[in-house]
Symmetry: C2
Subunit: 295 residues, 2 copies
């Protein structure tokens, strides 16, 4: 069984850049006509189409659980089928579910979402409950070759009101959470030098990203916020080590909803070609950032 | 439309005490023989039986989403049916899902879990992403007469490593999150004086509960940790105001898994009588605590 971090880094090398396409399906933006009586089927068709379109260009996808849970049990069934389709296409699947609870409940989430052949490759989690709330996820990750990305510094403006507060001991709240994550991750470090337990660090907070990158050498960063949320090339560069490893850059809306004109809404595969092109552009942009260490 | 806090307080008065039974169904502890080929059906039968048993004695139930999600889309279907059954029995339903994301994703969670006739009465949420991540939940709560309980001080031991850290400005991290919650809640205060936006404050941290109770007069506290997790009478009392309002005490394992001897596992309703008795005992214990302000 290959360690999650080693597997992710291999895939990133094979595809040419450490990038990830977010799957955030919302009915209002789907490119094809929708049977409004069956929204879950509509988002399933869209997600499978996006996966097929981006598969040649990117190593990973990140389905947003909220978009599927919106449609109840049927939506959750679709979520699991989308995960399965992406895995069978050889993509690494990071389920963006941001789960976190006391240990006994986290164990249920880990069993249902992350464990075994039916689980995704990695899960996002919330560390506000501390180490014992994350422990069951870490155990499954180590046992099954899976990964975890714990929210440390999020990309939204409101995160500052908590995460960038300064503690008496000089650390920020984000660093206090990060320290719990780094300690938890020490026991499962791959040959790449990275742990199966990584962090979410937004591309919209570059000064923080520099400090966190320095502080947590064993943690992979899952980096949202590039593109639609405003993160640019310099912001992205701050999340990597000088050797070009250490981060997985995600983009959602800019890739899965490229400008689609109304003539294309009639269906067909024209929209998939645009999505494929957008994912190729994401890959090339990040590859370009990494090949020019100072701009 | 009645305000959530007013509705909850009315129900607590009608049933005799502000208590809530947690629905945390796990296969290993179910009282009846299980068809292992259909675990979702087994937890559904159990939860419906618990609801029917406790309904005369308690105003509210709190299904733990993780226990249902463990069984994929079928489990989530069961979750929604359990919510529906409890609501139709006149119980207030607090879905313990601890969701939290950036605003666009939180809006999907709010739509899928909280909004409208199909949604539960209240939802637990994680505030690590700050006010903009909670905003969509607060909007739905205000619009639809629903409630929110944001994690401030959790009952597990590991929570200390984050929540009790002291900030440069003298507050704890829990208070920093609490301040965001209190600000958010100001716009929707019921005639009871309580907001639709409350907090989760564990019964295992009584000194903190005293300070938080003082600091947040408009917030209802959802209080886990009584019973199985070790919180006692004094710990519970700290979560209430002198007038006996301000908290909803939850207990799960001590009520839904009372000692059941093996002869009862053959089925029938004997286990429901034990569960009913345990819920009656929970109600009486909390009622007793509240009628003796100093012990």
């Amino acid at each position: 069984m290959t360690h999650f971090a080693d597997r992710l880094l291999d895939q990133c090398r094979a595809k040419g850049a450490p990038v990830c396409v977010g799957l955030d399906p919302v009915l209002e933006r789907l490119p094809e006509p929708i049977d409004t009586g069956n929204p879950a089927a509509a988002i399933e068709r869209f997600c499978l189409g996006v996966i097929d379109a981006v598969e040649p260009y990117v190593p990973a996808v990140k389905p947003q659980s909220a978009c599927f849970e919106r449609y109840g049990g049927a939506g959750v069934e679709v979520f699991h089928r989308v995960v399965r389709h992406a895995k069978s296409a050889g993509l690494i699947v990071v389920s963006d579910a941001k789960r976190g609870d006391i240990g006994t409940s986290s164990a249920h989430y880990a069993a249902g979402l992350l464990a075994g052949d039916n689980g995704c490759d990695a899960l996002t989690a919330n560390g506000y409950l501390g180490g014992d709330g994350l422990e069951p996820f870490a155990e499954v990750a180590q046992r099954d070759g899976k990964g975890l990305f714990v929210l440390v510094r999020t990309s939204n403006p409101g995160g500052d009101a908590i995460q960038s507060l300064r503690l008496e001991d000089g650390r920020t709240v984000a660093e206090a959470v990060g320290d719990v994550v780094a300690t938890l991750g020490q026991r499962d470090v791959g040959t790449s030098g990275y742990s199966s337990i990584g962090m979410v660090v937004g591309a919209t907070k570059p000064e923080d990203a520099v400090a966190l990158r320095e502080r947590y050498p064993q943690q992979l960063f899952l980096v949202p916020g590039y593109g639609a949320q405003g993160g640019g090339a310099e912001d992205v560069r701050a999340c990597f080590k000088p050797d070009g490893t250490g981060a997985l850059i995600t983009a959602s809306r800019s890739v899965i909803y490229p400008g689609i004109d109304d003539s294309e809404r009639a269906g067909g595969t024209a929209w998939q070609i645009r999505v494929a092109t957008a994912s190729e552009a994401l890959r090339d942009a990040v590859s370009d950032i990494l090949s020019h260490p100072t701009s």
